[in-house]
């Protein structure tokens, strides 16, 4: 639930890096692992099934998440399995009332899509989906901060976006392809940003 600490929790790699003795960056290590291991990071285990969401809700989460963090030159939220992460958190971490609130938020997204376009969110065109999400985003992050009751109405989208960001950047894809973990080895307190060129994951 509280992933704010994760912001600073730049995860490092496996203990393999230590055994190899020091500053080994994630891509180097990933390259040293066999293809099957790398696939298993990305693909769901064959027996994986959602435990809180039904198939439709899972797809709705996947579609929204991919809009929030889309595929570019690196894979997006769907390839990173963000929807599976969301189901896991809802099942194994969220208190039941909060889980139910999130699921109700999904139903609300579909209700908005139906009232606007007569279709579920997933059935809408990509443009319609983006327009709906833009509305939710603008309501959730007003230019001038307003406290509840708006905050309570926009809880779902803020939580959905937070889960997507956490799920993506802590995934193997997000942490090692889109960003890089800080390598093990020395600590350097002041290096030119240009020598790194992207944020540490």
């Amino acid at each position: 639930m509280e992933h704010d600490d994760l912001i600073t929790r730049r995860q490092a790699l496996s203990r393999v890096a230590i055994l190899l003795g020091g500053a080994i960056s994630a891509p180097t290590l990933a390259g040293a692992l066999d293809a099957a291991t790398r696939r298993s990071w990305i693909a769901p285990p064959q027996d994986w099934a959602p435990r809180t969401l039904d198939a439709g809700q899972l797809e709705l989460v996947a579609v929204m998440a991919e809009h929030i963090v889309p595929q570019t030159d690196t894979p997006g939220a769907r390839a990173a399995g963000v929807h599976r992460f969301v189901d896991t958190l809802l099942s194994d971490h969220y208190p039941s009332p909060e889980r139910d609130r999130f699921v109700a938020g999904l139903a609300d997204v579909d209700a908005r899509a139906r009232s606007r376009h007569g279709k579920t969110f997933v059935e809408c065109t990509a443009d319609q989906q983006v327009a709906l999400l833009t509305e939710l985003d603008e309501a959730a992050y007003p230019a001038v901060r307003i406290d509840s009751p708006r905050a309570s109405e926009t809880w779902f989208f803020r939580r959905m976006k937070e889960l997507t960001v956490v799920g993506y950047y802590t995934s193997q894809v997000g942490a090692t392809q889109e960003l890089h973990p800080s390598p093990f080895g020395a600590y350097r307190g002041d290096i030119p940003y240009s020598s790194v060129g992207r944020a540490w994951s």
Binding site: R10, Q11, V69, P70, V165, A175, Y187, P192
Partner: protein, 567 residues
Amino acid sequence: MITYDAIVVGSGITGGWAAKELTEKGLRTLMIERGREVVHRKDYITEHKPSWELPLRDARLSVGTKGAEEYPIQARTGQFRESNKHFFIKDKKSPYIEDKPFTWIQGDQVGGKSLIWGRQVYRWSDLDFEANLRDGHGVDWPIRYADIAPWYSYVERFIGVSGEKLGLAQLPDGEFQPPMEMNAGEQLVKTGIERAFPDRHVTIGRVAILTQPLNGRLPCHYCGPCERGCSTGSYFSTQASTLPAAQATRRLTVLPNSIVHSVIYDANKNRVTGVRVVDTVTKQTQEYQARVVFLCASTLATTRLLLNSTSPRFPNGLANSSGVLGHYLMDHHFLAGAGGSIEGLLDHYYQGNRPNGIYIPRFRNLGDDASRRDFVRGFGYQGGASRQGWGRGGGERGFGVELKRKLHDPGQWSMGMTGFGECLPREDNYVELSDQKDEFGIPLLKIHCTWGDNELAMRKDMAASAGEMLEAAGCKNVHTYDAYRGSGQLGAEPGFAIHEMGTARMGRDPKTSVLNAFNQAHDVPNLFVTDGACMASSSCVNPSITYMALTARACDHAVEELKRGNL
């Protein structure tokens, strides 16, 4: 009955030190630990696990969430999360009663909290040891800095401490390995603060983390989350440091899964003769004998054990002829400080997850013109600067390609700091035994502890001075905070700093203290208490290295006294 030369109760920071010192001085020693075995390296089950291998992605497990069901107290601390929960106690195994909120964070394994401690180590000075005498709160310490200084050095050389020498009277320098580096944001803030306030200093944290090899342990590799355990032994823990030293003597026996129920006292000899232990798995009781007993079970567990060790001579707890056992409980008060953003420095970054921050030594009430009239004693700050990471994406407007591009780069710099304030020793902050018992037949502690006027007044200054310094350093959007909410609500209540101490204090007078200048019970010569329970005041600096130094010093004294036939 099995007989040893020495029994050490507890295997954490002080238990490990007692075991090392006593065995190295030739004593066959039994170290008893209530928790499970944790083997160095092998049992660090989450060490270096990438985030995606943790199902909850290392979520902080707060109270009320799934995953924290068995840890309703432990989950109150921000340290408690998916990757380290196995190093915290399941609360039903050590319940206690809170008269007012008091968060008691406990380990339940060999190594105790040495596996998950904060690793910040600062020497006390005579400003601290003379504080009680000077302002009349508490009783005078029976020792001064000169008594403990060589033991600080002894401990530092063995555990390995990295840090910067400052030459300050209120924060004596130690035997340091090279300091870790500050980052660019911290350098900027340091320059600004030291320019505006010539009597204030910003330094890198002094930490029990190696920057050079030591005794087969390797320097830190900056993976980040020390509290998962460290296979290279780069931070001080029982497993990495004291336990291997004690085991090398072949005189150590470790007894895990065994909780000490009470200490056995022989009134005829006026000596303790051993301990009564309950096997936490089988619930069987067993007694062990020794010539000397060291209690290092952690502040509250040690005092609970003493209170539960009654006899006709000591009906109110062993070595409690003074009646002060259980009283003068302290913790540091923190979570009052300030944060702000730093403009610019966008071409500056850092590499490595440095498990350390900056430290601002105490500058209040040093006996100079800066002294305050609205509170006594003082505080220091811990903090740090960093660039915002991807997490900011969940809190700002925007999504899609634009968001992903933005999060590809780190965000702006920000700086935060929290004060750690000294807590006065007060008689009405105390623990007692309740009439309920745990599954091992040991009465539960009932804890009565609140902050007093001095702490609350100090907190105002902790927040305001932090804000003042960040403003002076040129930070923007400076905000001060104080997490204390009062009225029995959790926020910054006692216990949160996990620096609980006192309740079996040292002192000069047996009528007003439990322990003498060598951590030896005034009433019972072969009984020693060297964990946080011994403290007569709290200073404002992190306490563990002082416990270590007192332990080593007490062990030296105990063995000398044994040789002289005095125990």
